[in-house]
Symmetry: C2
Subunit: 162 residues, 2 copies
DNA sequence: TGCGAACGGTTGACCACCTCAATCGTCGTG
DNA sequence: CACGACGATTGAGGTGGTCAACCGTTCGCA
């Protein structure tokens, strides 16, 4: 990086811009999550652009196609989004006839979102693209390390106090 | 799953809204990163609000106070932000006299950002708040698991292909 | 039974943030 | 020394996050 020193032969292979790795901030989980996400979501969005989706809309579509019949509020809580954002996302997907809002017979306030046939086929296609994008993001890790990372993140994301 | 079954006594303690955990999306790294970050950054921002910072401005301040004398462009690459965003963040910190822009003697195009005395004291104070916020976010993990998560994220965040 | 509080969905406004293109001064190379 | 590349800056345009208010519905409770 510095313009004068020649490459150190003992330097481990570090693809990132490395001079600032000395800074204490690389120990911050918040920073690491932000940067990992920045790296990955660009790629995921690129892949999903082919089917006219983004990570946001893909998440909603995936939940709608899960067979669990989630209400919009459930989606909002699960994805940590404001309910009003779900409205817009479902609006868009419904306009494209990928999902449908069905009234909940038990509670007429809430609406259950389910994937249409077209939605389900698109979702499986999109899931493949997400997975290949993910593969590239996780390429520095071995298979067991990837599973480990998923497990640790799952616990932080779901079992952390409110 | 089915709406009628009574609570299963073998169910592990899951604090999250759990019904949708059956959905395949919980295996998505992108989703897990987004949710973990959503959980944690709210807390971190709350803590930092006491000193008038956010995670963004804190990151810039921390880099400025690292003693590494980073240029704005280095910061941008490291934090994965657009250079124009760095301008605004440094403007704000400079206005509060927490950091100073110094001309780089080697390259008069670039400006080195360093923390002032006030900036450094605020930074150490802020670092404490970030750490306690992080402690709560990572509370579901043991100490060795936390280090493991940090290490895995570091590799994904820095060694992943462009 | 009926009343009020709470809730789900929706809308709209507002602010933070991201991305991009254009500009200016500076650097490096040929 | 001329030209292309680069760092910082500005401004525009689009997206996303947050919040308050609203309507219809449900639930707790008197």
């Amino acid at each position: 990086m510095s313009p004068i020193t020649e490459p150190d032969e003992a330097t481990p292979v570090v693809r990132g811009e490395s001079r600032l790795m000395e800074a204490g901030i690389v120990g911050d989980i918040e920073f690491l999550l932000a940067r990992a996400r920045a790296v990955g979501s660009v790629r995921a969005n690129q892949g999903l652009a082919d089917v006219g989706l983004k990570v946001r809309s893909y998440s909603v579509l995936a939940l709608a196609c899960s067979g669990l019949g989630p209400s919009q509020r459930e989606m909002a809580g699960f994805l940590r989004l404001d309910p009003s954002q779900i409205v817009a996302l479902v609006d868009e997907l419904e306009r494209r006839e990928l999902v449908a809002r069905e009234p909940d017979s038990r509670d007429r306030r809430s609406k259950v979102v389910t994937g249409t046939r077209a939605g389900r086929t698109l979702q499986t296609k999109a899931a493949r693209m997400v997975r290949t994008a993910e593969d590239r993001s996780l390429s520095p890790l071995s298979e067991t390390e990837r599973e480990l990372l998923r497990d640790l993140l799952r616990r932080v994301a779901f079992e952390s106090p409110t």
